[in-house]
């Protein structure tokens, strides 16, 4: 069999159609692509923008609250100043008033001061009305101040009328007492206002400090959450994609399916990877098909020879029948015709095995008994086995668990392993196939063991590489093991090789019993 080029241009069309039939992954990939793209869009860029806007708004709010608080502090300071001014005017007035009663001087000054205090109070109190403890308190101070002023004015008027010995008049005495009382009251009010205001100011300053502290903490928490969200989004997605890459590299060509409720920049990557998977899958299907054609070629040569035996029997029988027709008894004729019938039947069987293998059918995953599949494969290869003079020994444990798989594709794998084993073996040696339970739960293991020339250690790592072959040019395509590994990977299994040069090789396939990824993955 000569080497078949992988992609003959004129073949591409039919090849493509075949692949559509053999591989129904395309629909699943298309479905995955639409699902990926139909989600709401929320890009990483948008998340960054959004979080920045939120941080800005948060900071803005913070500044607003602090500014408001500062205003309040400012207002309170002004108020304190005002109360201070006010109380110092009152104090001044009282000092003059005292002087007046002691020395008879400064009454004018006292009146002047109380007027000043009153005017300060009137002009400013509007502004600070809410700080003065309401209208009532203001009214009270105002009344006291009015009374104080009136008394001073009365004193003044009376002194003008009768200045002589005015201090000793009972009116002056009572006025002095009253004035003292009023002055004290006003000052007490002013002082209590100052104390109250100082306390409030302290509170406001404290609040300002608290706001500062909490808003910084809040900003910190906000930034931390934002960073966490952004980083975890990027990190987990990158992790996921590196897992995808590993998975695809191992030959698992299931498309990437949506994992989140929204789409973003990574979706474009996923879509691109799915496109790539589609391409790889197509290429792989082409490779599998190419390899199968090669295997069919090898088998056809065997079948063409094998068919010669029954054909020869028919030819001899028919010619003898023609030759001796007149001389033969009816029983003899019937016996010869029966031989012909049996031999045609035998021919049909020989061809049917090959046709079953060669038939292009859709990839169907079904429950499979590998021991039966191996038996059929040995039947299919009967001619090659006979021709090479090698004995094939099938050993399967009883109740070998069934697996899920594509019978045709798996047969292709086993045909390939057998043909390789036969190529490596010398006449009269043995090929063993051992089917047991796998070391892990829910797995089965099938080993194909030959006692042939073995594979040198330094080549062992490359035997699964596509187009790697040790066979002479024109004999091997170097596709067999690569394609086989691809097929086994699609079944969720593994194909590994062990070999010792000069002693033989052992190819081991491990299949999962329950897990059949092709069916699960695609029913999204």
């Amino acid at each position: 069999m000569q080497e078949t080029p992988i992609l003959e241009p004129e073949k591409e069309d039919t090849e493509g159609q075949t692949i559509q039939i053999v591989y129904d992954h395309m629909a699943d990939i298309r479905c995955a692509q639409t699902t990926l793209l139909s989600r709401r869009h929320f890009s990483v860029r948008n998340q960054i923008y959004l979080s920045n806007v939120l941080v800005f708004l948060f900071a803005l709010g913070m500044i607003l609250v602090l500014t408001l608080n500062n205003n309040r502090v400012e207002k309170r300071l002004k108020f304190l100043e005002f109360v201070n001014d006010f109380s110092s005017e009152i104090q001044q007035a009282r000092r003059y008033e005292k002087n007046y009663f002691l020395y008879g001087t400064n009454l004018n000054d006292a009146i002047e001061n109380i007027h000043l205090a009153e005017s300060i109070f009137i002009t400013q109190s509007e502004e600070f009305s809410e700080l003065l403890g309401g209208k009532k308190a203001r009214q009270e101070i105002f009344t006291q101040m009015g009374a104080y002023k009136r008394l001073l004015e009365q004193l003044y008027q009376r002194e003008q009328i009768d200045p002589k010995d005015f201090h000793s008049t009972p009116f002056s005495k009572t006025s002095e007492l009253k004035l003292r009382g009023y002055g004290k009251d006003i000052l007490t009010s002013a002082h209590s206002m100052i104390t109250l205001e100082k306390r409030t100011l302290e509170k406001t300053l404290n609040r300002s400090r608290t706001i500062h502290l909490y808003s910084i903490l809040g900003l910190l928490v906000f930034l931390a959450i934002n960073a966490y969200l952004l980083v975890s989004r990027l990190y987990s997605t990158l992790n996921r994609f590196s897992a995808y890459a590993k998975r695809i590299a191992s030959g698992d060509f299931r498309p990437i399916v949506p994992q989140r409720k929204f789409r973003d920049e990574f979706t474009e990557l996923a879509v691109a990877i799915n496109e790539m998977i589609k391409e790889i899958d197509l290429r792989e299907a082409v490779l599998i098909q190419t390899h199968k054609m090669k295997a069919i070629g090898t088998l056809t040569a065997g079948v063409a020879h094998e068919i010669n035996n029954p054909l020869n029997n028919i030819m001899l029988t028919v010619h003898m029948l023609l030759e001796d027709f007149g001389k033969l008894s009816q029983e003899e004729i019937i016996e010869m015709l029966k031989d012909v019938a049996a031999e045609t039947d035998r021919s049909k069987k020989i061809i049917r095995n090959l046709l079953d293998f060669a038939r292009e059918s859709t990839s169907t995953m079904e429950s499979l008994d590998l021991s039966v599949l191996l038996k059929n494969t040995v039947d299919l290869l009967e001619n090659q086995i006979r021709f090479s003079g090698i004995q094939v020994d099938l050993q399967f444990i009883e109740n070998f668990p069934k697996i899920h798989g594509d019978a045709q594709k798996l047969q292709q794998v086993f045909v390939n392993l057998f043909l390789n084993a036969m190529d490596a073996s010398i006449k009269g040696s043995k090929i063993q196939v051992i089917g047991t339970l796998g070391d892990k739960d829910n797995s089965v293991k099938v080993s194909v063991i030959d006692y042939g020339q073995g594979i040198p250690q330094h080549l062992l790592s490359s035997i699964f590489d596509p187009f790697f072959t040790t066979k002479p040019k024109g004999k091997g395509t170097g596709l067999g093991l690569s394609v086989s590994q691809g097929i086994i990977a699609k079944h969720g299994g593994t194909l590994t090789a062990n070999s010792e040069e000069g002693k033989g090789s052992c190819f081991t396939i491990i299949f999962p019993i329950i897990n059949f990824p092709e069916i699960h993955a695609f029913s999204l």
């Binding site: 020869n312 001899l316 010619h319 003898m320 006979r386």
Partner: protein, 136 residues
Amino acid sequence: MSTPLEVLLLDDEVIVGKRLKPALGKIGCNVEVFQDPELAMRRIAEKDFDIVVTDIYMDAMDGMQVLERVHERSPRTKIIMITGYAMIFLAREAMEKGAFDFIAKPFKPDDLRAVIAKAAKALGTSISFDSNPVNG
């Protein structure tokens, strides 16, 4: 009519023996038919045959081995190889090892008869076979 040719026919296909025994008998051959190479070899050890007709691919023993063994024991025996796996290298190998002729399956009884007639001639005897077959 001269003395019959002693022919041993070895093929693991039963029908081949069943049909060829009377076919060759007609041209004056005394045919012993074997399916098992071991039994055939034992018989060859007992008796010198003029002609041995053997299949090449058999389960227990290779026709080439039969060829070598017969050649060793009785160099004058003409050996005719028949096989379904007719390939140039096989034919060459057989001829190199001293086979008289090589016939590819499927063949007609007359094809073998013609070769046997040729072998008889080489052996110095003649058999009653017209080398221009009637129903060829």
